[in-house]
């Protein structure tokens, strides 16, 4: 049971980080960006390519960062005009199509079979009778670090204040001299980096597949929506709930394979959204 908890905590942290990236992008653009998952997968595949081509460490890092920046820029350019015109559903469609483009390209170039970023069995950290793989440990440490950094960035820096101002009211923020386009550009690049880190960590924890980004982003979206699009607390709790409950069910019942996870995640989300459609901690306010 504790092993299930540890695994759920690792997976939940991945979902949380991607949900945080979604939260950031949604805050500044009001667009639910589907492409972040596929961008994460693309960056992970770029790292896989560098390692399998035996590139030097410097070139590996440069290529990975370069791919992150390029994909972030493309994502921004595809959505910016639609964001400014407040055509949010169309921007959602565009980001979804971009995600399919990336997945298809990955499938064509690398194939659909699972790939390991680092070949061989990765070391496992043992504490007592419990085990946690090194990538899982890195995920948790990275997750805590990113969460703290993001909190500091959003609440204690000028850029963070601009981000919050745009999230509240982009027109007022622009009239006060805030360049919302620059802030959105920065957020898209940061979101791309976070997604890339999650893609790499997910690839290290399990295996690289072209559709891993889509599955991750759907879980992140479910956590984001179940938690409430305007409430970060709900997103944090929902990220772990949507992973923990299905994992606990699968671990408790015999003969239930991991393939049922997505079905259970969907079922849990349906129940939670049916009970709290606006989010776990968000109360419905009067729409005047």
């Amino acid at each position: 049971m504790v092993q299930i908890l540890i695994y759920s905590f690792v997976m939940g942290t991945q979902v949380l980080l991607l949900a945080l990236a979604l939260f950031l992008v949604y805050s500044v653009s009001k667009v639910q960006n589907f492409a972040l998952g596929a961008i994460g997968a693309g960056i992970a595949y770029a790292l896989y390519f560098s390692i399998s081509a035996h590139l030097q460490i410097v070139w590996t890092i440069l290529l990975t960062i370069g791919v992150s920046v390029v994909l972030g820029i493309i994502n921004f350019l595809l959505n910016e005009r639609l964001t400014r015109k407040q055509e949010h559903l169309f921007a959602l469609l565009t980001s979804f199509s971009f995600a399919i483009v990336l997945e298809s390209l990955i499938s064509i170039v690398f194939g659909t079979d699972g790939k390991n970023i680092i070949p061989g069995i990765l070391p496992v950290y043992e504490f007592g009778v419990f085990q946690i793989p090194i990538p899982g440990l890195i995920t948790i440490c990275f997750g805590v670090m990113i969460a703290v950094l993001l909190f500091f960035f959003v609440h204690f820096t000028p850029w963070g204040r601009m981000l919050r101002a745009i999230a509240e009211n982009s027109f007022s923020a622009e009239s006060s001299g805030v360049d919302s386009k620059k802030v959105r550009f920065l957020v898209y690049i940061v979101g791309s980096f976070i997604a890339g880190a999650i893609g790499i960590l997910a690839g290290l924890n399990t295996a690289l597949t072209p559709t891993m980004g889509f599955q991750l982003i759907i879980m992140a979206f479910i956590a984001f929506l179940v938690g409430g699009v305007s409430d970060i607390r709900g997103t944090v709790i929902a990220s772990y709930l949507v992973v923990l409950i299905p994992e606990t069910i699968i671990g408790s019942l015999e003969g239930v394979s991991l393939n049922w996870k997505m079905v259970l995640v969907f079922a849990v989300a349906s129940i939670l959204l049916g009970l709290r459609p606006n989010g776990l901690f968000v109360r419905e306010s009067r729409k005047s």
Binding site: Q32, R81, S104, S107, L225, N259, F266, S270, P277
Partner: protein
Amino acid sequence: MGYFYTQIARFFENLIIETGQHLSISIAGILFLGFPVSFSLSAYTFTILGKGGVAISLAIIAALFSSLVLGVLFSLLYRRLSSDTFVVFTLASVLAFDALLRSWDSVTGGVLGIAGVPKPAFLSSLLTLVVLEGVIAIVFLLSEYFVLKSPLGRMLQAHKEDTTLLDSLGCNSRTVGSLVIIFASFVSAVGGIVVIWRIQFLDPTLGGIPLLLPMLTISILAMRPRIRWMAIATLFVTLLPEILRFFPFPSTIIGHLRLLFYSCFLIVLVRRLSSGYTSEKRSI
């Protein structure tokens, strides 16, 4: 002639499925992405019951009924959730149902699928199937035509314009949206059955994203409430990937190329035609 009949059959099948999506996405402005679930659910229900010895007619009724129930569930969600949440949730349902089909291999055959789908005895040739699909497509097109000309059609167009205004005029926008979602589910279910009658094989890849993308493309392309435009858009999108036949691509990447093709086309369409999707009212 087999290739020719197959393309006509594909056109009619897409036309049948698109009738529902045209009403929901293009006319009413409801981005209902769960129709591939109805498509797959009806196809699998029919196949499993048919191969289990149930009469074809009863299997058809059961398949359509199951998708109707699914449509009702989706409509209940639509009434409860915001539009963004509903869109994401219906997309998640596609993924979840795909996972269900792959996991429940004792019933669905898993990734290997089910071969030898039963079909009615009178459908002995592809030509008769094409004729049947044509008749069904015409029936649905006429239904959509009369819906668009009716007060319901005007309500659907008003739903896309301004739901608050629609509510203030005494029409329940949520009920209107629910009706169109149920209809879209039903129509997708009919499409699912006729498709597997032609292909005679069923696996999880039949519905899902490969069905979602072309239908979305047609819905965005045929934005206006015109049946003619919908039919032309369906024909165009159905035949467009056939260009790939002229290139010597390996068979392992053809499916991914088609998805790539459709998604790039959808991006271009959305960016070029997005202004036509929004309401007719002037933004002050």
